[in-house]
Amino acid sequence: MQITFDQVSHIYAKGTPFERVALHNISLTIPSGSFVGIIGHTGSGKSTLIQHLNGLLMPSTGQITLGDAVITPKRRLPHAQRRDIGLVFQYPEHQLFEETVAKDVAFGPLNFDLPTEMVEARVKESLEIVGLDYATIKDRSPFHLSGGQMRRVALAGVLAMQPKVLVLDEPTAGLDPAGRVTILEGIYRIHREQNLTTLLVTHSMEEAARYADYLLVMAQGQVALQGKPEEVFMHVNRLRELSLDVPETVALVSQMNQMLPDKASLPSSLYREEELIAHLLERLSVPKEG
């Protein structure tokens, strides 16, 4: 589903002494099927931006187009269409409430009046997508799972609505490295298999570099930079100004290029770790024929 923001602003507590402009004239287009990384400093407006996607927040001015639905300050997203936008908040395990895992995952689909048999199938499917075994976990209380399992159940609860757009706000916070990889790989797999449009809010440049094919860099309620990762990462200084890092790979390449003569320099598009390693290996290996 294609997403367009046209001159969107959002002002919190308008007309009070605490008024605060959180988004300022944002215009952007996210093509259907892309995996977008959203990065930015604390308070830059990332969460505000994504909450506009399913009508949790209404724009103060401007308009948002989601597929063929249009949201304006006066027009909400119809309830039925909210299902298309799956929003996974930070620490989503805190929203679990049902007596069993299966019931909790079914909450979303049931709210959208799906027939019961269909719901059950979806619950099963989405639990399996996040790597949990349906049979063993479905009747357990979500409150007695480990932190990592709770996170996955919560994620399954959103996936069970079968959204067309998946929005995730720091889904890996607090997980150990293996847990991060499992969750992100899982998300990436469904992104491709179900041809979702995915937005990933993250503080980790490495995660953004690894999965995203498009990056949005937010700063003070505006889009400071956007484009393909290699384009965005070229603006090392601008990113530093925003007190954001570049991925370690990018930093490494730029440090090396400072030491290397121009003809030996590395291409700056090597921001994916595997590609960087492959490139270095190729340059460093002893030629086979030799």
């Binding site: 409150f143 007695h144 932190g147 607090g174 997980l175």
Partner: protein
């Protein structure tokens, strides 16, 4: 990562913190979750402060119930310009929490029935208590009747919300 959610034995400190959080809940629900009704009686104010109060009393017992009521709503009066009402609220709502908790703890039988009974007892305390306070404040015996419908509605709405929840909450904290 938060470790597994696991019911642990309540320590004294934890009890204190739970009491504090229920004071906060009660105060916040009284202050911020308001339905304004176009009828008289406390200015037609329906707040949801009784929800955390009843939860405290039913899940954690009479002491927490009393503390949530007395300090939660007493503090609300104290800091929002109803200072003169604060001492009375302290006593009346504290007693509500205490009695509701006591009944829930001590009376055997069908839980829903017992909770309903506890709510009725709390309601009686509230009505009678505020009736006398208002007699003093308004200088007559008729006007205080005006607040009774509001008080009833407040507590009944809270009860409708709370009673179906209690069993599940108790199970979660490992006391059910």
């Amino acid at each position: 990562m938060d470790s597994t959610f696991s019911p642990r034995k309540a320590t004294k400190t934890k009890t204190l913190v739970i009491n504090a959080l229920f004071i906060a809940f009660t105060l916040a629900a009284t202050m911020f979750i308001n339905l304004r009704l176009p009828i008289m009686g406390n200015g037609g104010l329906i707040h949801l402060g009784n929800v955390p109060l009843l939860i405290a009393a039913f899940v954690y017992g009479r002491k927490t119930g009393a503390i949530a009521g007395a300090f939660g709503m007493g503090l609300f009066d104290l800091i929002s310009g109803w200072t003169a009402w604060a001492p009375f609220t302290f006593v009346i709502v504290g007693a509500m929490g205490y009695v509701a908790g006591l009944i829930a703890e001590k009376v055997p039988g069908n839980r829903v029935f017992v909770y309903a009974l506890a709510v009725v007892a709390a309601l009686v305390i509230k009505i009678v208590g505020y009736y006398f306070v208002e007699v003093i404040l308004y200088g007559n015996w008729i006007q205080p009747f005006g607040s009774i419908p509001g008080n009833v509605l407040q507590v009944v709405v809270a009860a409708v919300i709370v009673i179906p929840l209690v069993g599940r909450l108790k199970k979660i904290v490992g006391q059910g």
